[in-house]
Symmetry: C2
Subunit: 371 residues, 2 copies
């Protein structure tokens, strides 16, 4: 292997693999990135066997070859170089030699045969979705996915197809049992979605980081228990969780007896201040909705009391409920508009939250008992 490559091109490619490699795995090779110099340039591959990223980089290849090296060390080195061109060679004893300006490095490598192979992918449906849409779906779902829940089916985001008078959309739904998020986006082509398709948390995180840059179409293909995303020069592949997602329609609020409209920024500032005195994650805060005002109050013997008054528009009678402040903050942070709408039924009934000017996403939060 011998090639010349632009430092920034290589640095960007290596930055993308950092979230994929596993630094603390029992299998040290999973902290490595596989470099493969071929006719079309340099291919970088990273995988933890559950998710994989393949990047095709422009390079002037003088001699083909493959080698895996520590991904983090290589990235740190390349991004600290000051000269524009990097010369890489496969040296004796499976070592990668790097020259750039007056810098020389020789890194121990692992032969490509020892690097885990990316399984063959058999596409059963191919659709195209824009990066901005996928990014929004991920951001609006990510926070509601459970973390290491014993209910296996909550550890990923569920995907399904919706087809009604507004056309066909992909819907991504996530819940941890206390709150739920549902976000939709349009696509072209065929999805071939089957039941029990859950996108694991790590895949969501990596997806969000990879889909940077300008907005463009991404080819999204569904295989057997796997999804592959492809755009020019980049392929991202991940295994789905084979878990039973709960019947979320059953917890959807069926009636709305109190409809509340609130300015997002004003509510966000008030929640931020209330949160200062609420350090316990599961602490219930009192929300008293009445004609024209929402009073948010909490009392903590050690840390003190807080009361915030926020102007609201309320349709319906006054009502008092308890909420986890952080759940509402998570939702506010991914709502696109300036106004948030809450639909309430009764004190312990689920609360439906959405941007009143958009049908692209909705959220459900379960209230908490007040002391």
């Amino acid at each position: 292997m011998e090639l010349y490559i632009d430092r920034n091109e290589l640095s960007r490619g290596l930055a993308r693999v950092q979230g994929v490699v596993e630094r603390r795995s029992t299998s040290p090779v999973l902290s490595h990135v596989l470099l493969a110099a071929g006719e079309d340039g340099l291919r970088v591959t990273a995988t933890d066997t559950e998710v994989a990223f393949i990047g095709d980089l422009s390079a002037n290849v003088e001699k083909k070859g493959e080698l895996a090296v520590d991904a983090n060390n290589l990235f740190q080195i390349i991004r600290s170089l000051t000269e524009p061109t990097v010369h890489m060679t496969l040296g004796a004893g499976q070592r990668l030699e790097i020259k750039s300006g007056q810098s020389f490095f020789r890194l121990p490598g692992v032969s490509a045969e020892e690097y885990p192979a990316i399984p063959a992918f058999n596409a059963q449906g191919v659709a195209t979705m824009n990066t901005s849409v996928i990014r929004r779906l991920v951001e609006q779902s990510n926070f509601a996915v459970a973390t290491d829940d014993s209910r296996y089916g909550l550890n990923g985001a569920h995907v399904e197809e919706v087809n009604d008078e507004d056309g066909r959309r992909l819907r991504m739904v996530a819940t941890d049992g206390h709150r739920l998020s549902a976000s939709e986006g349009t696509y072209e082509g065929d999805l071939a979605i089957t039941p029990r398709m859950l996108i694991p948390r790590k895949a969501l995180n990596v997806m969000r980081k990879l889909l940077d840059g300008h907005d463009e179409g991404v080819e999204m293909a569904f295989g057997e228990g796997t999804i592959r995303l492809k755009r020019p020069g980049q392929t991202f592949w991940f295994r789905l969780l084979d878990g039973e997602f709960p019947d979320y329609q059953a917890v959807m609020p069926t009636e709305c007896k109190h409809k509340v409209l609130i300015n997002c920024a004003v509510l966000g500032n008030a929640l931020k201040r209330v949160g200062i005195l609420i350090q316990e994650r599961n602490r219930s805060v009192r929300f008293s909705f009445s004609d024209g005002t929402l009073e948010i109050s909490a009392n903590n013997a050690d840390r003190g009391e807080v009361k915030e008054v926020v102007p609201v528009e309320l349709e319906g009678e006054s009502i008092e409920m308890g909420f986890n402040v952080r759940y509402l903050q998570d939702i506010l942070s991914v709502l696109p508009g300036n106004t948030v709408q809450l639909e309430l039924s009764h004190t312990l009934g689920p609360c439906l939250i959405r941007d009143p000017s958009s049908t692209l996403a909705f959220f459900v939060v379960m209230p908490m008992r007040l002391d």
Copy 2:
């Protein structure tokens, strides 16, 4: 106590006390800030009994009074307020009531009598020094102070007066036994420095943070085992360590057989790249100085090899030495100029480092044995 105060004025004052209060102390009152409303405004006081900060803030005081409350909670609350004016009242049961716009807080307090008193200060010498000069002294000394060393006298920065043909200066010296920093600054007035005056690490850190904003004169007064810094509206006081600082003149290089001039940025970039493969703090790296070039090289069986070549001007013969890369990086980060000068005597002799265009600071690094 009852007063009205500008949110930004209070927020700035509370920001300054955050580095002083002790959040994890066995004495909970040390995590508090003492608020004292008097004729001239609001005084905020924070102390861990070793360092203390007193800030005088403009406020419209309606009723005098005192109370201590949790410093961090109060700061978080005040800086998250969106209305410009804050109304504070001492309520029933030693509680601080805060009103601003539609926000209301009631925080549990501790009576002023329970707050540790700042000891009386008996100035034995008063000098004036500019904030920019003090800040430079602290920054150029801080990194060389030992951390929790069993040799008590190394846990602070030593101060002494220098008086020669260039006039009178305050010199601050710090060492951890492996490297030494010495930095000087001019002053007006009298210092009354006695031996065994060591500024502890926390005082240096707090001093650096407090001396923000525009450059102005600071009154520096030396008391018995204490120092007090004063500028309009701010007083900072701290106890000195009563330790024996080593006779640092004894380790000063006495001869220079090899004088090296290197561009700071080029050397800094090379050291940064070398450091990627050197994770152990005390690892020796080979520096080969020869006519026109410095070759820096290291070899780590696990992580790989690195060789960097840096152009230098060398007066004297070629020489090979081992250095701890981080010690050189620390010094480069506080050198003001573009060029660094190294003066070497022999392979294991101390290395004198300075900006060749400035006599305001010098540094000594002990080399390491090469394998």
